[in-house]
């Protein structure tokens, strides 16, 4: 399985593409949300299904997880999970520019997740001359229930995945959440091919 690992050049290249995408995404988000959005330097690592469940289970105090699938040309696909902490969901409507009674907390969380995911992945896709489509975002765990319960019920059709974790911070609203991108085993080779092509062009 070690051939799935990104080599140092590939890792650096992916990191760089993500960094640029993060910069542009945070700029777009800041303009749309009318507040400063800070994206922390991402962590990129290879994970197994088992360790994924463990990592997310350890994060027991997460209030909600929204999942959204993404897929583009050249077999680039994966699943984005947005992980929220309980106390952070209070002022989402405010942040999104809605009146709180216009929509439920669930809808606010789903809406924000979709905005964060698609904004980032759209610019990411542009960096690699690609274009993303998305499935509808789904709330996996509602306000009180534990994420691990849900994950334990999911059957994963992959053993290994590339995990990219980016933390979003909206300081004016003392709000932050994690975006975790999972690129499953089969798609890792595809993304490596794309990275190698970019590296060659340089």
């Amino acid at each position: 399985m070690s051939e799935l690992n990104l080599n140092e050049d590939q890792q650096d290249c992916l990191q760089e593409i993500i960094n640029v995408a993060m910069g542009q995404a945070s700029d777009q988000l800041a303009r749309f949300l009318d507040t400063f959005v800070y994206l922390k330097v991402p962590s990129i690592e290879q994970v197994s299904t088992l360790s994924l469940i463990e990592t997310l289970s350890n994060n027991e105090n997460s209030a909600a997880v929204v999942s959204q699938g993404f897929f583009g040309y050249e077999g680039i696909r994966g699943e984005a999970l947005l992980v929220y902490k309980p106390k952070d969901s209070d002022r989402l409507a405010d942040l999104l520019g809605y009146e709180p009674d216009e929509l439920s907390v669930e809808e606010q969380i789903i809406d924000l997740s979709s905005i964060l995911t698609t904004t980032f992945l759209n610019v990411f896709a542009k960096q690699i001359d690609n274009q993303m489509s998305y499935s509808a975002p789904r709330l996996l765990a509602g306000s009180q229930s534990a994420v691990s319960d849900h994950l334990a019920q999911q059957s994963f059709n992959w053993d290994l995945a590339l995990k990219v974790k980016i933390t979003y911070q909206v300081t004016d609203y003392s709000f932050n959440c994690d975006m975790i991108l999972f690129i499953p085993e089969l798609a890792i080779n595809n993304i490596k091919a794309v990275i190698d092509r970019i590296l060659e062009e340089f």
Partner: protein, 315 residues
């Protein structure tokens, strides 16, 4: 056929509503599916304002939603689970479902026109079936979860759920330094009662006892069947004085309760043990065990009596 013709053909035959608006919320295009379902004339729709043609739309919310698509150039979604429908359209299952309007999943796609202007395309999918079956499933799951918490005979909490409640209340009491009391009681000579009146008589006694005691308790108290003829009550935010008062009322209520069973009157008494959370209790099981010991004392002291956990008497 040219690719353009093919697209037009599909657009008009697909079972999905397609509606395109410009950045002034004027309708630029709609497909045949919508025309049929909305039962409006194309002349009254295309070129007109979205909110005038479909006054049922939540204008302020939808504008903000569409704004995000225009500005971020990324697609957005709206699921029936959050909003049953946006457009008031009839659906094709008016007989087998109970909803008036078609449940919808809507997708908002950014479109860049050749002339450089921005449009948003709204795709409307009929998910009435999904909505109907999911709603039925949710209801069944809720009933199952409920059945999983309740003791079938007495209709109070079963042992498993009651213990889960105690675990939560125990850690809550610890965290906030609140009081927490536990009462456990056991019907006296229950085996004899079963032997005399048969199991149907015994069952009726359990049902009646649970009913009488339930009516004595406060809203936050958690009442469960611990085992055969043993019951247990969690009293959150309660000190030993309050718990003893409840325990005594329970003892009296049971002893006064006359149960009519097949021409006979069954009378029963209970032995009651009481304990409150103490510094020495590390786990909720310690509290159970203290209460259980007090219950054992009550049995040993001749039954039909309330006993307090030893360490509370000594200090």
């Amino acid at each position: 056929m040219s690719p353009n013709d093919i697209c037009t053909d599909i657009t008009n035959k697909i079972n999905t509503g397609i509606l395109i608006i410009d950045n002034q919320y004027n309708i630029v295009f709609w497909n045949r599916y919508l025309e049929i379902h909305a039962n409006k004339k194309t002349d009254d729709v295309v070129g007109h304002n979205l909110f005038q043609v479909f006054p049922e739309l939540p204008q302020k919310w939808l504008k903000r939603k569409v704004e995000s698509v225009f500005q971020l150039k990324s697609q957005s979604f709206c699921s029936w689970e959050q909003r049953h429908h946006l457009f008031e359209l009839p659906h094709t299952r008016p007989i087998s479902t109970n909803s008036h309007f078609m449940a919808q999943n809507c997708t908002f796609l950014p479109l860049e026109r050749k002339d450089g202007s921005d449009n948003v395309c709204i795709l409307i999918e009929d998910v009435t079936d999904v909505c109907h079956y999911q709603t039925m499933l949710n209801k069944t799951l809720e009933e199952l979860a409920q059945a999983n918490r309740i003791d079938g005979l007495t209709q109070i909490f079963n042992r498993k759920h009651w213990e889960e409640c105690l675990e939560k209340e125990f850690s809550r009491a610890r965290r906030y330094q609140h009081g927490l009391a536990l009462i456990m009681f056991d019907l006296d000579h229950f085996k004899l009662l079963n032997d005399t009146y048969g199991h149907l008589g015994g069952d009726l006694v359990l049902i009646e006892t649970a009913r009488v005691i339930s009516s004595l308790l406060r809203l936050g108290d958690l009442f469960g069947r611990y085992g055969g003829e043993e019951f247990a009550i969690i009293l959150p935010n309660t000190d030993i004085v309050g718990a003893l008062d409840v325990a005594e009322r329970i003892r009296v209520a049971i002893s006064k309760n006359v149960i009519n069973f097949q021409e006979s009157e069954i009378k029963v008494t209970a032995s009651v043990g009481v304990a409150v959370i103490s510094e020495d209790d590390n786990r909720y099981e310690d509290l159970i065990s203290n209460t259980d010991l007090a219950l054992y004392d009550a049995k040993a002291s001749g039954r039909n009596i309330v006993c307090v956990a030893k360490q509370l008497v000594e200090t």
